[in-house]
């Protein structure tokens, strides 16, 4: 991460595209080719299905929206019934609990594994003396293992993790939380490792020279510098998690997502509208709480 530290001041000014014309050309033309062939391919598999940009689908969308508002039924819409709001609130609290658990599990695992994934701590490059042969091998092996874990967990989306997790944990809040947590371990770990690598090496070197190990150097040399940043990431991820939690509920059979899926398949349109309202309100509340918490963490 040396490049970033050195380049911060001139960022945006030193756009050195001319330095490496070949690489830039490959990337630009590669992306262009990818985009064109993707459009051709998706247009190809779309033939036969209804065009989304037609007057027909426009009228279908307006019709759908008016049924969401309760135009086609005589009974009171769900979102004007107090008891339905209570039910939806209960589901929202399940979703909230799932998101909190997911954020806590992911944050904890990332926090514990991060020192082994940061090259400055894992390889003891900051001591000046370096570790013994065995120590260096162990550090290197742990580094590869943890970085590999991060890449693996991060690459697979939460919903696919949920499909696998329900083989181990019964569908419910915990299963959803674990699926969300697995993906976010990779995200938080990677972000955290970058921050730890960018930390000021002087305190770590001072601790190391008086005999501190990796864990001690992390706890007393790095953590005081980066704790605010790590908490910021944690809350930022919580905002992402709450949006996804509703969806993971499809698979994990709890909260707003599961009910939304049921209501969609039973065509209970005003209930769908109610759940969407509660969902957006929940997401916005979490955004506000998280903004406040991030400010407090700074």
């Amino acid at each position: 991460m040396n490049g970033r530290r050195d380049g911060t001041i001139e960022r945006g000014w030193a756009v050195k595209v001319h330095r490496t014309p070949f690489f830039s050309a490959v990337v630009v033309f590669g992306l262009l080719a990818l985009v064109i062939s993707s459009w051709v391919y998706v247009a190809g598999i779309s033939t036969g299905s209804r065009s989304i940009f037609s007057t027909d689908s426009l009228s279908r969308i307006t019709e759908f929206l008016s049924t969401l508002a309760g135009s086609d039924s005589d009974s009171t819409p769900a979102f004007l019934t107090g008891s339905r709001w209570l039910d939806a609130g209960r589901l929202a609290s399940q979703t909230l609990a799932m998101s909190v658990l997911a954020a806590v599990i992911a944050g904890f695992v990332a926090f514990v594994t991060v020192p082994f994934a940061a090259s400055n701590l894992a390889f003891r490059s900051d001591t000046g003396r370096g570790a013994g042969v065995v120590g260096r091998w162990l550090g290197g092996a742990a580094f590869l293992a943890v970085r590999g874990l991060y890449i693996f967990t991060r690459s697979v989306p939460e919903l696919l993790w949920a499909l696998l997790v329900v083989f181990v944990i019964s569908p419910g809040i915990l299963a959803g939380a674990v699926a969300l947590a697995i993906h976010n371990i990779g995200v938080l770990g990677r972000l955290g490792a970058d921050v730890v690598e960018d930390a000021d090496p002087a305190p770590v070197a001072a601790l190391r020279s008086s005999g501190a190990g990796t864990v001690q150097a992390y706890l007393f040399g790095v953590l005081p510098q980066v704790a605010g940043q790590l908490l910021t990431f944690q809350f930022y991820r919580w905002e992402v998690i709450i949006r996804t939690t509703a969806v993971v509920g499809f698979v994990a059979a709890s909260g707003l997502g599961y009910q939304l899926r049921l209501d969609l398949s039973f065509f209970r349109y005003t209930d769908i509208a109610l759940l969407l309202m509660v969902y957006v309100l929940l997401v916005w509340s979490v955004d506000i709480i998280s903004t406040i918490a991030r400010r407090a963490a700074r």
Binding site: T20, L164, G172, W284
Partner: protein, 264 residues
């Protein structure tokens, strides 16, 4: 957000206590009895075995590659739409281009509110709504990803444009540059390197989102995973997961190299 600052000042030091209470509440809302299946350990051993020995037969690899291409194609189409919609919307929402009159500021705030709403809803919920409204088609999946992604890209672009240091802007302003020139020659070039690497990151997210479009019935990696899971062929699942990882790694490596060139 002055209100947020006041809350932080009043309650900031009690924040760890609130956090602990919320976590405890979340733990109590889990039904712990029977939370873990009886065969959980066997399932884990089975998974580990499959991950260690993925199905690398021709048929399995072929279907994984085809699924990967479908997923990447959906992601690319959705990203092109999201960028073409998101960047102009972000430019308006930043309020740097419009005059600071009542209409100019009002428009910026309105666009910001719309982006906030579009962003709040997860792409899969958008997908379900599109399918419920107009029926299943690849366009529904593509739009479902493009809408929230455009909103996120718009918000991030707007925030970056606002955060450009005032000094260079003031410098060209004092030499007589109009608002359009200030934005075009200072603000946008200033944020572009960061924005490009952010867009690569979004592309990575788009690939993951496209991989779960199977939940509305479209093909791709998620679809193949669901088929393999219902056949209990975990070694095929492993192949598909590794394929997804390779896709994400490729985007990550290209992104890192491009970033290095741009930031120097």
């Amino acid at each position: 957000m002055n209100a947020a600052n006041i809350v932080v000042k009043r309650l900031g030091h009690r924040f760890p206590i609130f956090a602990l209470v919320v976590v405890a509440w979340a733990l109590f809302s889990v039904d712990w009895t029977g939370a873990v299946h009886r065969g959980a350990w066997d399932a884990l051993v089975f998974f580990a075995g499959a991950l260690a020995a993925p199905d690398l037969s021709g048929a399995s690899l072929g279907s994984a590659l085809e699924a990967a291409w479908t997923t990447v194609a959906y992601a690319s189409v959705a990203m092109t739409l999201a960028i073409t919609l998101g960047l102009p919307l972000g430019l308006i929402a930043s309020g740097t281009l419009l005059p600071a009159t009542r209409t100019g500021t009002g428009l910026a705030i309105a666009v910001r509110a719309v982006l906030g709403f579009l962003r709040a809803i997860h792409e899969l919920v958008w997908a379900l709504l599109f399918v419920a409204a107009i029926g299943l088609s690849p366009a529904a999946g593509v739009l479902a990803i493009a809408i929230p992604f455009a909103a996120i890209i718009g918000r991030v672009f707007a925030e970056r444009l606002q955060d450009v240091p005032e000094a260079p802007v003031a410098a060209v302003k004092s030499s007589g540059a109009a608002t359009l020139q200030q934005v075009g020659f200072v603000r946008i070039p200033f944020v572009m390197p960061d924005m490009i690497s952010y867009l690569f990151y979004r592309f990575e997210c788009a690939i993951r989102s496209a991989a779960i479009l199977s939940f509305i019935g479209l093909g791709g990696i998620g679809f193949q995973v669901q088929i393999a899971l219902s056949d209990l062929r975990f070694e095929r699942v492993a192949t598909l997961l590794y394929t997804l990882i390779v896709l994400i790694l490729v985007v990550d490596i290209v992104s890192a190299r491009v970033r290095k060139r741009l930031v120097g």
